[in-house]
Amino acid sequence: MNTTDHDEHPTVDGIPERERAELKDCQIQTIKNICHSFRHDEGELINILHKTQESFGYLPPEIQECIARELRIPVAKVYGVVTFYTFFSMQPKGKYPISICLGTACYVRGSEKIVEALKNELGIDIGGITPDGKFSLDCLRCVGACGLAPVMLIGDRVHGRVDPLQIKDILTLYT
């Protein structure tokens, strides 16, 4: 992993070093339990990561290290899998994670304009999170609600036929 030459906050893949925390004992226990429920089988790594992300919300380096220890495999292998699949995130999500569908059906019905409107409204980029931790912004490919295109998800709720002008009103639903 590469360290950049910013002395104050050396980063490991974009995550400021100072945010890396030691895991609490109860957190380590949670990870151990998950690995145990899959018989410490490295073939179940993806299922283990799914369960772990469900519990912790994201998969920071210290959690990956812990899983690697439990399964007796190199951290590089865990890291390789985490970064390969878009479903796994090394960044925390907002309280209300927003995902905009960029599938073809939504694209031809103007989802790019919604991305722009959300970026402006929240002042963050794709993959970012608002300073208050309320919203995070992501894109995904097709939720299969193409009849409602363009579509965005906030948490589990699907908002269909979204107009960029409605963005403000929709966001006020989540206060």
Binding site: F87, F88, V108, G144, A145, L148
Partner: protein
């Protein structure tokens, strides 16, 4: 379903659930209970009806009444009028925009008239979470027939005779695939259902899994018997929570009924099914990548041969079939391979499910016989182009396919014809585009997707697609050069010839087909610095028509970069090199004086 006089079928697919269909189910039940009719009419949350454009859908049986755009507040009126008094609620009936008359039932709707539903036979008819309803519609009867009447080899012959080809994109004959897996010797073999539907804009497999999960289990059981496998795995996208839930329910119920487990139907055949979750990687739809992903590794494809049928999951012979392919299997055994082969075209038998989306009136899920023309699909079933615009292109096959144009409208759709036309069947996404869509941008859109989803293992795909994307981006930004089109073509040929897996080998298709069919659009971008569809922002040119401008100053006041100048009550003008093409002036002008060129 016999004790009730009436059934209210409410669509419980992802699209309709997003518009509160679960609440409609609740309200209908409340309204029935309040009127003391709970014993007369049953409310069932079914799988997708396909008519997603006008959802949520409520269908009343036995008279096939088809209510569209239903809201939870309409529940009371449906019960009070239709259930109690037998009068249809006219306001909620579907009105065909062409004929302007409400369709009394679904049989009279253009959307359904040309469809033949085999893979979707139970979607929208049964409660997917109730195994008894599946059994009532001949569910698991095909399995019984196969186990009691056929040897594995005979059963495979039936599949071969039906002419069924893989619906995941490749079109490989299913019976032949099974036969290869059957002849391999191994202590363990696997049946894998590929439910990693990653094409942007395609939702066929998800709808089948949500609407009729047992048909997939039954087909996997039949396949297991045929090839000699005792283990089945469904590899499904984690992004499909509802489909996952319904599969889990179906597996539990099938185990309770002894349809999964040991000695199934007393035939001495053991089989069980487990789920494996994807994690958002398009390339995992490729079978070798899918197998690696199931083993908990990065989903990178491997060189074929060895094919999965020889060495697949955990090194054992593995047969991978797509969801829709499997959904056809039980029907082939029940109605006979000759019946199935009687539908469709010479080289492609049966039907194909398409997810019709984009700039079309009736967005939704359709199942049509192979050999139907694009014109019938788009203009009869799809109801034509939205807002009366002109048809420009239809994209089939997702990121691996191409754009077809007006000249292809009368081509019968099947595996071979679409390939010959420079596209492919793919898994069944069909995105319709109108005159406002820029084809260079569409090609760029797909390449951006491929660059994003390329696993990076082989250089042609990892580097080549990135270069293709950069060339397209350059063209849409107005920096295109004369030899860019040749460059795109040459690079595409190299990628097609040398990429490792199906993802890379087909990724240049969107570029090649748009170059073939819309060359003039590329030329306009490169030589005239114009985007004929007016989509490429960098090539837009805003100007004010002096004869229409009243000098109200609304545009100038709203221009964030002060690019609009002019005296009050005098015609204004835009300073082109200051304009950032944000379009704010266009929105503010009340006099239609601002144009984009």
């Amino acid at each position: 379903m016999s004790t009730f006089k009436m059934h209210l079928l409410v669509c419980g697919g992802t699209g309709c659930r997003a518009s509160q269909s679960a609440m409609i189910v609740e309200r209908l039940r409340e309204a029935l209970a309040a009127s003391g009719l709970s014993g007369d009419a049953q409310v069932v949350a079914t799988g997708c009806f396909g008519f997603c454009e006008q959802g949520p859908i409520v269908k009343v049986m036995p008279d096939n009444t088809f209510y569209t755009n239903v809201t939870p507040d309409d529940a009371a009126i449906i019960v009070a009028e239709h259930v109690l008094k037998g009068r249809k609620v006219e306001r909620l009936l579907y009105t065909d925009p062409q004929h302007k008359t409400p369709a009394s039932d679904s049989k009279h709707m253009g959307f359904y008239r040309k469809q033949i539903r085999i893979a979707l036979r139970n979607c929208g008819f049964i409660d997917p979470e109730n195994i008894d309803e599946y059994i009532a519609r001949d569910g698991y009867a095909a399995l019984g027939k196969v186990l009691s009447e056929y040897t594995p080899q005979e059963a495979i012959e039936v599949v071969k005779r039906s002419g069924l080809r893989g619906r995941g994109g490749g079109g490989f004959p299913t019976g032949t695939k099974w036969d290869i897996a059957r002849t391999r010797r191994s202590d363990q073999k696997y049946v894998v259902c590929n439910a990693d539907e990653g094409d942007p804009g395609a939702f066929m497999d998800r709808s089948i899994l949500e609407g009729d999960p047992h048909s997939i289990l039954e087909a996997m059981l039949i396949c297991g018997y045929c090839i000699g496998a005792t283990k089945g795995l469904v590899y499904i996208r984690a992004e499909y929570p509802l489909a996952i839930h319904r599969l889990q329910v179906a597996i539990t119920q099938a185990r309770e009924y002894g349809l999964l487990g040991a000695d199934i139907m007393g035939a001495g055949f053991d089989f069980d099914i487990e789920l494996r979750y994807g994690a958002g990687a398009f390339v995992c739809g490729e079978e070798t990548a899918l197998i690696r992903s199931m083993e908990g590794r990065r989903g990178e494809p491997t060189v074929k041969p060895p094919f999965p049928a020889e060495s697949g999951y955990r090194g054992r012979p593995t047969n991978v079939n797509n969801v829709e392919t499997l959904a056809n299997i039980p029907v082939i055994f029940l109605k006979g391979p000759e019946w199935f082969a009687g539908i469709g075209s010479t080289g492609s038998k049966g039907t194909k499910v398409f997810a019709l989306a984009g700039k079309i009136n009736n967005v939704g899920l359709i199942e049509v016989p192979m050999g139907i023309t694009l014109r019938e699909v788009i203009f009869e079933i799809g109801g034509g182009i939205k807002d009366g615009k002109r048809f420009k292109a239809v994209q089939t096959g997702g990121p691996s396919g191409g754009c077809l144009t007006e000249k292809h409208l009368d081509t019968p759709i099947d595996f071979d014809n679409l390939l010959a036309a420079g596209s492919m069947m793919g898994s069944g996404g069909m995105i319709v585009m109108d005159e406002d869509d820029c084809m260079v941008s569409i090609a760029k859109f797909y390449l951006e997707f491929t660059v994003d989803e390329s696993c990076g293992k082989c250089a042609p795909c990892r580097i080549g697609n990135k270069r293709l994307y950069e060339l397209l981006r350059k063209i849409t930004l107005g920096h295109g050069e004369a030899d860019d089109m040749d460059c795109l073509r040459n690079l595409s040929a190299v990628i097609k010839d040398t990429a490792l897996c199906g993802l890379g080998q087909t990724s240049p298709n969107p570029v090649l087909s748009t170059l073939d069919n819309f060359r003039s659009e590329y030329e306009a971008h490169i030589f005239d610095r114009k985007c004929p569809a007016g989509q490429c922002k960098a090539l837009k040119h805003y100007f004010i028509l002096p004869e229409k401008c009243t000098g109200c100053t609304a545009c100038a006041r709203n221009c964030s970069v002060n690019a609009i100048v002019g005296e009050r009550r005098q015609a204004h003008s835009i300073i082109q090199n200051k304009c950032i093409r944000c379009g704010a002036c266009l929105e503010k002008c009340k006099f239609d004086a601002i144009r984009v060129g």
